[in-house]
Symmetry: C2
Subunit: 248 residues, 2 copies
DNA sequence: TAACATTTGTCCGTATGTATA
DNA sequence: GTATACATACGGACAAATGTT
């Protein structure tokens, strides 16, 4: 399809990192299945037209990330596997979406605060006065970190959301305790950027990694906004799907 | 909100490039309006905790990209502007989506071929036999490149798609000529990755840049697939929206 | 067992790029 | 602009582990 082993020099991005990014991309795009043996270092070196040591730097970085696994005398193998798919629709529930793809999902509360809403947050939540509760969370699938999020709620509407989330590890469950039995996804805006320092720490990524940023508004059954959230997904572990069915 | 002027060292990404990426991101996120004067170099240097020479390297790179504009004796100014929003729904038409945000959009045919479909393409188009036509296209908004795409079509269904696209610069218009008056977006899968060499060339990006990859299936009014396409958007110039209305 | 090819791991030195003072 | 320290990339040589003949 679309594969060019081209390296740009003097670009501020080290050659070993460009190669590592390309290999990681190929793996997470499914071009090399889990457990498959990589071509030997010398072959990769000629393919990318670089020194073997440069290939070794790239492999070392990917080994540290857990994407590859090198064995002396035998070769280097693909350790990681396929991407998860996060399907966005009217009913978007984190654990439900992934339940068919992984054994277990978990949500952890990283921090929280009661704060004055910014114009953006107030507008998204349709608020004219009052405070908002902000919670920072991190989510894992089968104990692999896949996303971290910041959510804002109207403090008057769900005053106990912090405690409820900590107890349940789920916004859906926390909403139920606050009397919000159901809610719908009103809008989602999707972008992508380099992972920042926080992303690197929470998602266990290495610098230069990419995160998909989804900014969403959830509304109750009367159409009133109840949650405004931005979620950062590791682009190597997750893709977003829209529409009725997968085409792949 | 979420802004850390944090730099990761020894990551394979030069500090000047990390700073350039961050400034470019801030600009396209709308944090600095078009035409605004940048803070002086010394201030940026203290803000990022780096040497002034390093800031100069970052600014030089962004000037070369056209994101900033340096004026003799006056200072450095933001040349570029806000992100465009690509709203995905049942009726997704490239030029219609952007018509309210830009003056003019254009589609250019980069290349085309008649080929044996891969399993992925055949499955997406619901084909069991026959050849597919592949076209590579590039799209601009007000003469700025914002996306490039590869599309596949059933050759038996739209045999003249290449000529028709070249003449009209639009899939919608080319479909009309083939008797397909209307079509709907069935599914979209969204991911993000580093720009490859082709992306860099077509979208005029610099290495390390990020592209949003949207893989879509369009169906005719009878629900039969008519187009399978993967589009690469520059993540700095575009974001994807889903749902009824923007929340921002 | 032994010899051999293959592949990863480690060491040397050298030139250039990056970042600081 | 100059000087210094470190990261990056290259070239070569050899050691260590593995599998095969």
């Amino acid at each position: 399809m679309r594969s060019s082993h081209l390296i740009t020099r003097n670009s501020g991005v080290a050659v070993w990192r460009q190669i590592a990014d390309q290999i990681r991309g190929d793996i997470s795009a499914g071009k090399m299945a889990s457990g498959v043996r990589m071509p030997p270092e010398v072959e990769l070196a000629t393919r990318f037209s670089v020194n073997r040591h440069t290939i070794r730097s790239a492999i070392a970085a990917l080994t540290k990330e857990g994407v590859l696994r090198a064995e002396q005398g035998r070769g280097t193998f693909v350790a990681n596997a396929k991407k998860l798919t996060y399907r966005i629709g009217e009913r978007t529930r984190f654990s439900e979406i992934l339940s068919t793809q992984v054994r277990e999902t978990k949500g952890v509360l990283l921090g929280s605060s009661l704060e004055e809403p910014t114009a953006e947050v107030a507008s998204a939540l349709g608020m004219h006065s009052g405070m908002v509760i902000r919670i920072d969370t991190m989510h894992t699938a089968d104990n692999n970190p896949i996303s971290c999020a910041t959510s804002w709620f109207d403090a008057a509407r769900v005053p106990n959301i912090i405690e409820d989330y900590r107890a349940t590890g789920s916004v859906t469950a926390a909403f139920k305790r606050a009397g919000i039995d159901d809610y719908l996804r009103q809008s989602t805006i999707i972008g992508a950027r380099h992972a920042d320092a926080e992303d690197l720490r929470h998602l266990k990524l290495s610098p230069g990694a990419i995160v998909i940023v989804a900014t969403a508004v959830n509304v109750d059954m009367d159409g009133r906004p109840v949650e405004y959230a931005t979620t950062h997904f590791s682009a190597d572990r997750m893709e977003i799907a829209i529409g009725r069915q997968s085409s792949l």
